[in-house]
């Protein structure tokens, strides 16, 4: 009989699940996240998996991980160092041990530490038997055999039984961190609706994990993390890709335009296509095209035909769409291009994150081809930036590039669901009035009317050849070209009058401003807050509009002695800031395919400010 176990309250915990690509670690992590969100913790996640779908079992390069940081407080990063590592095999232990906090907890599937797996992980001796893990709290749990015992009598093959072991591990973690299994049980029932034997087996494995925690002598303590004090409202856990998809769905509803997505599957952007394919009852049309170019071109066609048209991709796909985006610039048609950035160049690191497509987005086209560029800063911000990108595209009749990244796309956090009626209405430039119509007439913003096929007597042609203003006729006149080049540039520049100012978190002026953009927001915020705890005075500003930038950007920058720009690239925003404002900036560039560690930024802050922390 087990003793009543002590429950220890913690403020925050970082857990990493690691195993073979086929072990279901992403699933385990996302189930733990959903449950953790549901019990009211703030959280932030970092799925980290290889590009290979099922690399050979047991190898180091086949290790898939999912890190999750949860807290009773407000948090912004997936955590620098895990407190707990769940390692399903020796390779997972080897690959992740160095990141684990000193004295951290390791839960291993001891069944998998056989000679073969130890060899595959390049272990000369079994780390569970030598002294190498002495600095950690190690729990050797025979997860495979315990799962097999629990599933005795089910109709599953031994292979299928083995595949249930992640639910055992999840159950054990639920017990250890005092989380209810209900959301996962509901999920299992939904997911395996058509396979009752899987429902039974996975639920049994999950419950066996919970019972094991309860019964075993090994675990004497369990932990609880109280709900975070989040603002009042209804919440759900949301990933960046899902938020992006929902944002465009909302933009479609709010603009009254049906949504068209022309797309070609690419990691890590495909989920947006998958999510939107489900919303047929909203009239959403998703077109899985033959390639990236067909994806964007079909969106251009749908835009001409009066839809809210979008295309989603990642860096290599954006490169392929380049020429077509130029066509949308010339024809002045609204199209949103979503680039979920990943490690480059070329195929690069498909499943990893990076911020290196900024210059490609702003400048990467032939000719003078101005395109507004926006960037979301957190998973939930993807929702609002999708709406904002749509608003700008439709108001200014222009293609807009929305940048997210692999970290935002796959990472998740709690999201206070907004009231639909609080979301902005989106106006369009649709024109049906025949009197005085010309395809390239201009309004005060220099935006042209949108005359949609099917509208009587507004027949007109658009195309990639240079246009005469107002009439839209093909025109080769040198002065007209000069005029139109400048007009298109001005039209995009005009957007600066229509976007919020750059906000400063902290003092409005001072020694140091950290300037960031995109998915690094949370980590910079965390680093700034830690620096403040150390007594430093510094401010943070984060750009969500990269082209054009908010009107007050130069003014904000001029009020600080030093500007530090952390980016997961070699300094693309830094280049823009220097050339735009003729000021010197400091850079922090770490391009590891992973989000910054808070400590990377904190170290750079202390270097930059020296001992100057006011103490």
């Amino acid at each position: 009989m087990s003793k009543v176990k002590e429950v220890l309250k913690l403020k925050e915990v970082t857990v990493r699940f690691a195993g073979d690509s086929g072990d279901g670690m992403q699933l385990t992590g996302s189930q733990f996240s959903d449950t953790t969100a549901w019990v009211g913790n703030d959280l932030n996640t970092l799925p980290d998996y290889p590009a290979e779908i099922r690399a050979p079992a047991g190898t180091l390069y086949g290790v898939s991980g999912f890190q999750l940081h949860f807290s009773s407080d407000d948090i912004h990063t997936p955590g620098d160092q895990p407190d707990v590592l769940v390692a399903m095999n020796p390779a997972a232990l080897k690959k992740n041990l160095s990141e684990l906090r000193n004295g951290g907890m390791i839960i291993v599937n001891s069944d998998s530490f056989d000679l073969k797996n130890l060899k595959l992980a390049n272990y000369a001796t079994n780390p569970l038997e030598d002294e190498s893990l002495s600095g950690y709290e190690v729990f050797k749990v025979p997860i495979s055999s315990l799962t097999a015992n629990a599933l005795e009598g089910t109709k599953l093959s031994p292979k299928e039984v083995a595949r249930c072991k992640n639910f055992f591990a999840l159950g054990l973690m639920y017990w250890l961190y005092n989380r209810p299994p209900e959301t996962t049980i509901t999920w299992i029932h939904e997911k395996f609706k058509s396979k009752p034997e899987y429902v039974e087996a996975n639920e049994k494995a999950l419950k066996a994990g919970i019972n094991f925690g309860e019964m075993t002598e090994a675990f004497t303590t369990r932990y609880s993390v109280e709900p975070a004090r989040l603002p009042k409202g209804t919440y759900r856990n949301i990933s960046g890709n899902e938020a992006t998809a929902l944002g465009f769905l909302a933009a479609s509803v709010k603009s009254g335009l049906p949504l068209f997505l022309g797309s070609y599957p690419i990691t890590p952007a495909s989920e947006i296509l998958q999510y939107l394919s489900n919303y047929k009852n909203f009239g959403v049309k998703t077109f899985q095209a033959e390639d990236e170019i067909a994806g964007v071109c079909s969106a251009i066609g749908a835009s001409y035909a009066g839809h809210l048209a979008i295309t989603n991709t990642s860096g290599p796909g954006l490169a392929l769409k380049t020429e077509a985006i130029g066509l949308a610039v010339m024809t002045e048609l609204p199209v949103v291009i979503i680039d979920v950035q990943r490690g480059g160049p070329s195929t690069g690191l498909p499943t990893k994150t990076e911020q290196a497509d900024l210059l490609q987005s702003i400048y990467g086209r032939n000719g003078e081809s101005p395109v507004p560029v926006l960037a979301a800063r957190t998973p939930r911000d993807c929702f609002y930036m999708a709406i904002e990108a749509s608003r700008i595209a439709l108001k200014y009749m222009t293609p807009v590039i929305l940048l997210t990244d692999g970290y935002l796309a796959n990472g998740s956090e709690p999201w206070k669901i907004p009231d639909v009626k609080d979301l902005p209405e989106i106006k369009t430039k649709i024109r049906t009035e025949k009197e005085g119509f010309f395809p390239y007439l201009r309004d005060d913003n220099l935006s042209r009317p949108w005359a949609i096929p099917g509208t009587p007597e507004l027949e007109h042609r658009v195309g990639g050849l240079e246009k005469a203003n107002i009439t839209g006729n093909v025109n080769y006149d040198p002065d007209n070209h000069d005029f139109m080049i400048k007009l298109r540039a001005q039209k995009v520049q005009n957007i600066e009058n229509d976007i919020p100012d750059l906000k400063v978190d902290g003092d409005e002026s001072g020694e140091l401003l950290l300037l960031g953009w995109g998915g690094t927001y949370g980590t910079i915020k965390e680093a700034v807050s830690k620096a403040r705890e150390l007594g430093y005075t510094l401010s943070q500003a984060h750009l969500r509009y990269l082209n054009p930038m908010p009107k007050n950007t130069g003014d904000v920058l001029s009020r600080f002695k030093k500007i530090l720009i952390p980016e997961i690239n070699l300094g693309q925003l830094a280049k823009l800031i220097r050339s735009e404002f003729l000021i010197e900036v400091e850079q922090l560039n770490v391009v590891r395919g992973l989000p910054f560690r808070t400590s990377d930024i904190l170290t750079k802050i202390t270097e930059t400010l020296g001992g100057n922390n006011g103490k």
């Binding site: 603002p231 209804t234 047929k280 066609g301 048209a309 096929p453 099917g454």
Partner: protein
């Protein structure tokens, strides 16, 4: 299906489809004839709601076409006409979407889009002006140029084999495949009309003379003295007959078509291959598509094949209607608040 002998009631004339833009093709170009035949035929196809017509093109001489049509139109980028047209059609299936393209635009840089548009059976009509040369870039060989072609980029003759566009379209499962000639106005009008009536991807290859860079490419098929002996006009349910005095016919000998003499008395029309546009198997359409490559055989024009199957855009609309009737109209609030939600009080 409108029958060509019936009087069509229309509110439009050819002039209604002519834009105010000056046509800028070279004098003598076959493109003029194609434009004229389209403008002459359209009043019969488009009896009302001219505003529902969209012309889409890529890049090349042919692709200037939309500028000359007084309809909605997009002059796209090189090779991508089929993709833009697909987007227009899928977005709004009420629109009639036509594509003007060339052999370089559609079969070289746009080859991938062409086969996939055909495969998906998106309801767009593709008129491919095949002049077997790159015209707008001034005379390089194209993917339909004959092997050995001497051009600026192949001064010693090309070493690659041309595409057979009809065979490619059949292989890609286009649902309407036809061929016509720039110089045969009546025939082209008929093909355009028939393509307009078809639902699904319709492909018409139009042999078009580029009198600047590839003059005379189709001479045998268009000159008075030679055309009747070299062109086979295929008609549905009729025997394959050609020749100056309709004195030659095509007989299928196993899988091989052979020319037989109808004047000697040995063969009659009853012995000939009876053309069936709607034949389920594509086998005989493929044989027809390769006929012109065989020595002594005529070049077929007309409809090689047409089949009726659900179009991509119809499929999408059907799914949307189905899901709407099952789930009801989409409710944004319901979607946003779905999944595992919790209250913070």
């Amino acid at each position: 299906m409108a029958n060509s002998t019936e009087k069509v009631v229309t509110k439009y004339t050819a002039k209604d489809f002519s834009s105010d833009q000056d046509v800028r093709w070279c004098p003598g170009c076959g493109d003029y004839s194609i434009l004229a035949q389209v403008q002459r035929t359209f009043p019969e196809i488009v009896t009302e709601h001219k505003e529902n017509i969209v012309w889409v093109s890529g890049i090349g001489c042919s692709s200037r076409f939309p500028y000359y049509m007084n309809t909605y139109g997009i002059h796209g980028i090189h090779g991508r006409a089929a993709t833009i047209a697909s987007g227009v059609k899928i977005a709004n299936p009420d629109l009639a979407v036509w594509v003007a393209t060339g052999d370089g635009d559609m079969l070289s840089i746009g080859g991938n889009h062409f086969i996939h548009a055909c495969r998906k059976n998106i309801d767009i009509k593709i008129l491919m002006f095949n002049n077997r040369i790159y015209g707008l870039t001034k005379g390089q060989y194209s993917p339909t140029s004959e092997k050995g072609k001497v051009t600026k980029t192949t001064p010693f003759g090309s070493v690659d084999y041309p595409f057979n566009p009809i065979s490619l379209a059949i292989g890609s499962e286009a649902s309407f495949i036809a061929r016509s000639l720039d110089r045969n106005a009546k025939h082209m009008q008929e093909m355009i009309r028939r393509a307009g009536e078809h639902k699904g991807t319709a492909f018409i290859e139009i042999f078009q003379n580029c009198n600047i860079f590839n003059d005379g490419a189709f001479e045998l098929l268009t000159e008075k003295d030679t055309k009747e002996d070299n062109v086979l006009v295929m008609e549905h349910e009729k025997p394959l007959v050609f020749g100056k005095n309709s004195d030659k016919g095509i007989k299928l000998d196993g899988m091989t078509p052979v020319v037989v003499d109808l004047s000697a008395g040995e063969f009659t029309k009853d012995d000939l291959w009876i053309h069936d546009e709607f034949e389920k198997s594509p086998a005989r359409a493929i044989i027809l598509s390769h006929m012109e490559e065989m020595p002594g055989m005529p070049t077929p024009i007309g409809i090689f094949r047409q089949i009726h199957k659900e179009t991509y855009d119809e499929g999408i609309e059907r799914q949307i209607a189905n899901i709407k009737s099952k789930k009801g109209e989409g409710d944004l609030e319901k979607i946003l608040f779905s999944g595992n939600t919790w209250e913070v009080k």
